[in-house]
Amino acid sequence: MFEQITERLQRTLRALRGTVHVDEKALEPALKDLRMALLEADVNYGVVKEFLASVREKALGEQVMASLTPGQQVIRVVNEEMTALLGGAQVPLSLVGPSPHVVLLVGLQGAGKTTTAAKLGHFLRRKGHSPMLASVDVYRPAAREQLLQVAKSANLAAFEGAAETPQEIADAAQAAARKDGHDVLLLDTAGRLHVDEEMMAEAAALSAAFSPCVTLYVADSLAGQDAVNSVKAFADRVGLDGIILSKLDGDSRGGVALSIVSVTGLPVLFVGVGEKFGDLETYHPDRIASRILGMGDVLSLIERAQENVDEEVAAQLEESLRKATFSLEDFRQQLKQVRKMGPISKLMEMIPNMGGNVDMKALAPGEDDLRRFGAIIDSMTPDERQNPSLINGSRRRRIATGSGTTVQDVNQLLKQFAMARKLMKQFGRRGGMPLDMMGPSGL
């Protein structure tokens, strides 16, 4: 269902008109589709509303950049707004104050706190710390046993002593950590509902007693609209310093990230991407942004196209595409642009659904091929470049000699050109994203 929504959004964006400014009336359907995509991605309703309002304002206010179509322009605004909301530079986990630094992990039931504790411990040890883990979950059956086992399998120190209350366990664990020379104490707490007054009071008391160096909220990336309510309650009652987003190895769009960060202003420090203790990654707002929109890394492709593509050339390319007079001359320009944008295979990977169904070589010749193709095209007459069907056997031999290549090379170039032209026609008709490859005429 999500794919259908993002496809429709892309279609709508392509249809956007506007020369100097994006047209207000034309923008409405795009915003409607964007709303659908965001809601389907589990971004909170209120957050979506605010977000759309600011996108509307910015998209209408800005001049359309010459190198972008109006549709791309809107995507760019969306991307900028989203990345700004999702937080910019990466925030490191900062451990200051007296040792052992207490790191408190809190969250709802089943969010993934215990697994995250082991992952964090593993991460910190690799950073040169000496962490100790302790579970203060005295409620869920075998919860403490679980932490002991994950700590063991990650080869991390864990506090084994027993006591009645979370406070008593934490006290004893702190003493043990100090005695054994650990500089970090990771406290794994019981999962609790934010509406459970008693349990929230318990967490608040624990926080007050230990004044943790860092309190992290583990948020399930599969969560929906209610995620903001729970994280806000934890922030208000317990106090939070950051977020860890769990279970991102699934196929949820992760819209909760946008909701949580924009409502609380808290940084996301890590994302969990698997059940093993090594499956913890640093957070990349741009990746989450494109995940939420379901557009692969098309967004960053636009950015790159924007930086690198010569506007004039782009306009020409677009013109010839529109008139379906795509010639070898255009092909050469296109190859040049593509080269400026970086390794072609990387660019191809970034385009969604480009994997299996397209002959990659047609659009992505190697660097050597590129150089050779340039020489071959240079050896052609303007007529030949405009109308490749002129190039018969004897012309091929002439061109090969002139460019210091072989007839096979010339044949290869012509074959790839034909394929590229065919693909571009297809994309042009379907209006698929890969047009971005050829310069900013897609969308």
Partner: protein, 301 residues
Amino acid sequence: MGILSRSLGRTRERLKGALQKLLPSEKVDAATLESLEEALISADVGPITAAELVEGLQEAAPTGEETRRLLRESMVRILEAPENGNRAEPEPGRETPWVALLVGVNGSGKTTTTAKLAARFQKHGCSILMGAADTFRAAAVEQLCVWGERLDVPVVAHQSGGDPAAVVYDACAAGSARGADVVLIDTAGRLHTKDNLMAELAKMHRSAGKVIDGAPDEVWLVLDATTGQNGLRQAEDFLTHAGITGLILAKLDGSARGGVALSIAHRLSLPIRYVGTGEGTDDLEPFDPEAFVDGLLGEAS
């Protein structure tokens, strides 16, 4: 950010009984319909299903009272439609054990729900056996064994790291041998995107059938009520790979309303069987469509 929080606060207030504010005899305007749609989306019903539901109302152009009735009716109808004749409750005195498999993503509430079901069926006079087929997660077996001890229900378990299909086999065999009425099998959490883990479920399913003809009788997807639209994907994939026969909605005691279950029932024609309302073994209730709809619309008591 301040503006945002305030607007969220307003949103919540507006949602408090979007239906209650409808004046009985007055014509319903577009703004009211929008706030109904908002209520549904905020309850995780999903934008598409929410739009469909509200669209139906718009055509009827009803008064407040009719709106209330129509919307509730159409939602209850969706939820009641998938009754597929399966009895969700086994009865005591069976010839061969009735077998249920509990499946779902990590942390959704499978183990706790297994224990809750054991407690429930035990109260109905059934003799129960539980199978600890989560051989993957640390201390998962211990967790189920603690429940088994508390409920005085035997647990069949292997070593952690063992083959879960073998646990299923042994649990079904032990259930048959001991004349148990019910065998409940707790499985490891898995994201529906992991093909190898999903294939493992299919194997467990076959394993049960090898011991007891027609087993498992039920395969229940335990869904966390906080789940967003990804829940539909989960249900689709667990349906394909594990042949789920129904849903159990856990953690409905929080403030999440579990609306994605409505979309799942609607699109996949799966019944919702029980709801979980706490962490104790008594915190399980049979699914009540009317009460659930009231919850979705912010009318819960």
